[in-house]
């Protein structure tokens, strides 16, 4: 039965479409009350005192907490720099300072208004280039040196006081590369790029429900990306043993990297403990947009050494990640973003200095593509500029610089299942790259652009699963993998059905619950199909091994000569010698059935190790689990008078190794394309001079609507399948690569149309008009 590779229906589809799927907000527990958070109105301030007495006396208020009610523990992913509730200082507008639990959300909100906080305002720091100075005007974390840190950063003579990440790559002889190009009259191309502030803006805002039981165990329901990261984070925040925390993940309405930790869940838990009642917290849309982690900007300075023939031989990059008040989930971005500097290209010399700094804005978090979607903007625009400078076709130039199978990138990532060439050429064919865009009537211009991308999936990492076989031959998979909407549950179900030769509806999933389901690292980094998929196959094998051993005496055969499929166990080569799976189960005295050997539960752990890279050179052994490839191309129509950019046609050619569910991959291509278009052209968190976000609503934060997308027939998805040696059935992930090349593809198309570059995202109509006017003023003619 080949279920893997078919577009099996989403197993959660009916529940979601009919509204019966349970999300965090749907959970109602007896005696449950509601929490609201009191947030800092200042970007930088010292807290002199908090008076909660008025709030506590309000009817209906059940608990009020401040930092004084919590253990004095700093939290963080790798640099522990953040208290759950602001301790002595607040470092961004919206930072939680106190919280209230009350009978209704409205009472809790009014009570928050009654909490009096005395602040001493401190000068805020917003500019990352000021922040990184050795003598910055403001220092955010005076006690940084004392913080616990789980990651070594690059050595520096003196650490700029606001710096929390430094990473270097030193590969090859960079000076020689630039000298060679200078001597032979090649091209040196240097530019500065920037990305913008982007929010995950999931349909479901952050939220959680917390409940304590009498034995001191905390149960938390929260739509997060990783029940185990959540569990450990809660345990740390509340000073509990992890075994005292149970995290259950209901359905999740989108995450995209924004739900790695469950800070609001920890606040709800602390309130629930004090109030001795279950507490629900659901952030408002404004809180969700302004006070949860965002994709914060990068600044990239790139200088490339290119031979006359268009071969890239040296690249120098300095980048700064514009972090916020805390290092947060963005902590690894300055490292992981470097994967795109070599990208899929051969690079004899690479020199990188990559930093992350504190500023008094929203903390940096993950968002689909974790650093690579940002660095791709710089690198793949740069490739387009190089092609034009060298007068070589942009596809050809990229192909001439590509690695080949078996080589390693300048940061030692092996080019395995290396499909960049195939993705690029298929994408180019679909957009009819060889045919220039039609001319339109002024003020409209058409143009095409293309970009290549790749996306690592991080390591070290592990996934475990358990597979229980029931007497009716149905299978129950216990997994902590999370379906965020990407279709993970369907894929895993398909794998079990395939391995056991049974129908999809004979597979049942036990979804994430740390009291029941085994460890899985996270639904992130495009890792679920790859890692959990492998673990699931292995758990199936383990269960089948147990079945074969139980069946062997009955069939008078060696277990190795048996096979299990479709609810039967049979002797390989003579299928008539078989028994039913059911026959392995014996009737017990109280009418319960159990297998002769008590239980058939397969279990497995799939693990990928990695050697840590030297932060001073960026060199090491295999740094990541695998790398996925993809190319995207856009044809745009630009109005030079209004600056409007319409995407006329958009193509994604994405390599997934093996399309486990082709329709699911297509949905990733379309959905990712839409998200990428939004990031490229529309989405921008804006802040006023005090550091407050000024467009914290879906009316003002411009997630594009369907009207901004190309018409159906102009949105094309191409699935490329170059199997990976370690992927289940050869599969790689698809979740993130789909937004990596999007922005540069669109930016390059705008250049093709009107001959202007916009260096900082998003590429808004206003910036288009400005760039066009500057070009006119410079007397460059009509460009198109």
């Amino acid at each position: 039965m080949n279920v893997v590779g078919t577009s099996a229906k989403r197993i959660d589809g009916i529940e979601k479409v009919t509204g019966s799927a349970e999300f965090t907000t749907d959970i109602v527990l007896p005696r449950m009350i509601h929490a609201k958070v009191k947030r800092s109105p200042f970007a930088h301030a010292r807290i002199l005192g908090i008076d909660t007495s008025k709030a506590e006396q309000m009817p209906g208020v059940r608990a009020v907490i401040t930092a004084a009610d919590l253990p004095d523990i700093r939290l963080g992913i790798l640099t522990l720099d953040e208290h759950l509730l602001a301790h002595d200082k607040t470092r961004l507008v919206g930072e939680p300072v106190a919280a209230v639990a009350a009978d209704t959300p409205e009472i809790a909100r009014s009570a928050c208004e009654q909490i009096e906080v005395e602040y001493e305002e401190l000068p805020p720091l917003f500019d990352p280039e000021e922040a990184i100075r050795l003598d910055p005007p403001v220092v955010l974390h005076e006690e940084y040196e004392e913080y616990e840190k789980l990651l070594e950063i690059a050595e520096m003579d003196e650490r700029p006081p606001n710096l929390w990440q430094a990473y270097r790559i030193r590969h090859g002889d960079i000076d020689a590369a630039f000298k060679q190009v200078e001597d032979e009259g090649g091209h040196i191309i240097e530019n500065r790029y920037a990305t913008g502030y982007v929010h995950t803006a999931c349909m479901e805002p952050h939220g959680a429900v917390a409940q304590w039981s009498s034995d001191g165990t905390l149960t938390l329901w929260a739509g997060g990306q990783s029940p185990y990261i959540a569990r450990d984070g809660l345990a740390k925040a509340l000073d509990l043993s992890p075994s005292k925390v149970r995290v259950i993940v209901p359905f999740v309405g989108g995450a995209f990297g924004g739900k790695l930790t469950v800070k609001e869940g920890a606040i709800a838990a602390a309130l629930a403990r004090k109030a001795r009642r279950p507490v629900k917290i659901i952030l408002t849309r404004a809180e969700d947009l302004s006070a949860t982690a965002a994709r914060t900007p990068f600044i990239f300075d790139i200088k490339d050494a290119v031979t006359k023939e268009g071969i890239l031989i040296g690249r120098k990059v300095t980048s700064i990640l514009w972090g916020g008040g805390y290092s947060g989930e963005g902590i690894l971005k300055p490292i992981f973003s470097t994967h795109l500097y070599p990208g899929s290209y051969r690079l004899a010399a690479l020199w990188v200095d990559s930093y992350g700094v504190y500023t008094n804005r929203v903390s940096g978090g993950a968002l689909r593509g974790y650093g690579c979607a940002e660095s791709a903007w710089a690198v793949e625009t740069q490739m387009d500029i190089i092609a034009r400078e060298c007068d070589i076709d942009a596809v050809e130039l990229r192909i001439n610089n590509l690695l080949t199978e078996g080589e390693r990138t300048a940061i030692t990532m092996p080019a395995h299942a290396f499909s960049a060439h195939e993705c690029l050429t298929k994408c180019a064919d679909a957009i009819e790259w060889e045919t220039p865009s039609e001319s339109l009537e002024h003020p409209w211009y058409r143009g095409k652009g293309i970009a290549l991308g790749n996306k690592y999936s991080f390591a070290p990492t592990a996934s475990s699963t358990e597979l229980k076989v029931h007497e009716d031959a149905s299978c129950e998979l216990r997994t902590s993998a999370v379906d965020l909407g990407q279709g993970a549950y369907t894929i895993l179900t398909q794998i079990v059905a395939d391995e056991f030769g049974i129908e999809i509806d004979q597979v049942k999933l036990v979804t994430p619950d740390t009291a029941i389901t085994p460890f899985d690292h996270v639904a992130g980094s495009s890792r679920q199909t790859f890692h959990t998929g492998n673990a699931t196959r292995m758990a199936c094998d383990d269960a089948k091994r147990q079945i074969r051993e139980l069946a062997a005496p009955k069939l008078e055969a060696d277990p190795d000569d048996l096979d299990v499929s479709g609810g039967r166990i049979f002797v390989k080569g003579s299928p008539e010698r078989s028994i039913e799976v059911e026959d392995l189960f014996v009737v017990e005295m109280l009418a319960g059935k159990r297998p002769a050997d008590v239980e058939v539960i397969g279990k497995a752990t799939w693990e990928v190790t990695a050697s840590p890279h030297d932060p001073n050179t960026g060199q090491g052994e295999e740094p990541m689990a695998y790398m996925g490839h993809g190319a995207q191309a856009a044809e745009v129509e630009v109005n030079v008078e209004t600056g409007q950019v319409r995407i006329r046609k958009f193509v994604s050619a994405i390599d997934v190794g093996k399309a486990m569910n082709p329709q699911g991959v297509e949905m990733q291509n379309y959905g990712g394309g839409c998200m990428g278009i939004g990031i490229a052209l529309h989405e921008d968190m804006c802040f006023d001079a005090s550091g407050e976000m000024t467009n914290a609503s879906l009316m003002d934060y411009k997630i594009p609507s369907i009207a901004e997308m190309p018409l159906n027939e102009y949105m094309e998805s191409i699935i490329v399948e170059v199997p990976h040696q370690h992927g289940p059935y050869g599969a790689k992930g698809a979740g993130e690569i789909v937004v990596v090349p999007t922005s540069p593809a669109i930016g390059n198309a705008i250049y093709d149309a009107i001959g202007v570059r916009i260096w900082d995202q998003p590429l808004t109509p206003e910036k288009v008009v400005k760039a066009w006017k500057e070009k006119k003023a410079a007397g460059n003619g009509s460009g198109a």
Partner: protein, 289 residues
């Protein structure tokens, strides 16, 4: 929590009586599209909400020699396509097609859209372009006010406590020689306009401009007439020459919009120029076509 009385009168006079009775604390709610946001965000705390949902007689569209009268409760969706029966409303009908989205337009009323007095309102710009006026009824009588006098500032109108807007009158014009058009620019479908420009032109057979009106939206608190641009056109031949482009330049030269996070002042001025020219071109084409 929203804590107020919700009243549902069924006639205009009943509604006016309730408004008079409850004074300043009483607010009218029609489709509720803006009102629900005001309430949710705590921007107003009315003591009484007076819903006109069940008030009869505010849903008619009628045409006479003087013009078209539209009841305050006519929903925006109903205005789409209304120009088939009432060609005078062509520009209004077309403009409404792009306002907000289907769900909002199903509830949003024309009266509510006018009274909201949003500085980026497309509807008030079009109505101003068309020289429309509104009828205000109170327990003590009624009065008719032009849109230009009605909208006094951003989110501010000439409505007095106790008054209800009952209808809008769009005066008729000679459809064979005059036409109106509206152009807007949005960052995303369904958004409020960054800038909108309404134009009305009346031409004689030789292409000379007899009458013209140009109204710019979202560059100040109220719809703003571009008099300098109008001056460039009125009494001149405007077909087949630079007149419309000049008018665009002049309109742009005389607005001083404040910038916002999504669009700077400079950019809005650029848009005024482009949209004025385009809206004029469309009106001229219709008037001569």
């Amino acid at each position: 929590m929203i804590d107020c009385h919700y009243l549902e009168p069924t006639t205009v006079s009943e509604a006016c009586a309730l408004l008079a009775e409850h004074g300043d604390g009483a607010k009218v709610v029609a489709g509720g599209q803006q009102m629900s946001l005001l309430l949710r965000n705590g921007l107003i705390q009315p003591s009484h909400l007076i819903s006109i949902q069940h008030v009869s007689g505010l849903e008619d569209i009628a045409e006479s020699a003087d013009g078209v009268t539209i009841g305050a409760k006519v929903t925006l969706n109903r205005l789409i396509g209304v120009d088939n029966a009432h060609p005078t409303l062509r520009a209004l009908s077309r403009a409404v097609e792009d306002v907000a989205d289907q769900q909002i337009r199903n509830f949003a009323t024309l009266g509510g859209a006018i009274c909201e007095a949003h500085p980026a309102s497309d509807i008030n710009v079009v109505l101003s372009t068309l020289n429309a006026s509104v009828k205000l009824v109170s327990a003590s009588g009624e009065r008719v006010v032009s849109i230009d006098d009605f909208v006094t500032d951003a989110f501010a109108t000439a409505v007095r406590p106790g008054e209800l807007l009952t209808e809008v009158v769009v005066p008729s014009f000679d459809l064979t020689s005059a036409a109106a058009a509206y152009r807007r620019f949005v960052l995303r479908a369904g958004d409020y306009s960054v800038v909108g420009v309404g134009t009305f032109v009346s031409l004689d057979g030789a292409g000379s401009c007899q009458d013209v009106r140009i109204v710019v939206g979202n560059c100040s608190g109220t719809p703003a007439q571009a008099q300098e641009a109008e001056g460039r056109l009125k009494g001149h031949n405007i077909v087949g020459n630079n007149a419309l482009a000049d008018a665009g330049d002049l309109a742009a030269a005389h607005v001083a919009p404040s910038g916002d996070p999504m669009a700077s002042s400079e950019y809005k001025i650029d848009l005024v120029n482009v949209l004025t020219r385009e809206a004029l071109a469309e009106a001229v084409a219709l008037a001569t076509g």
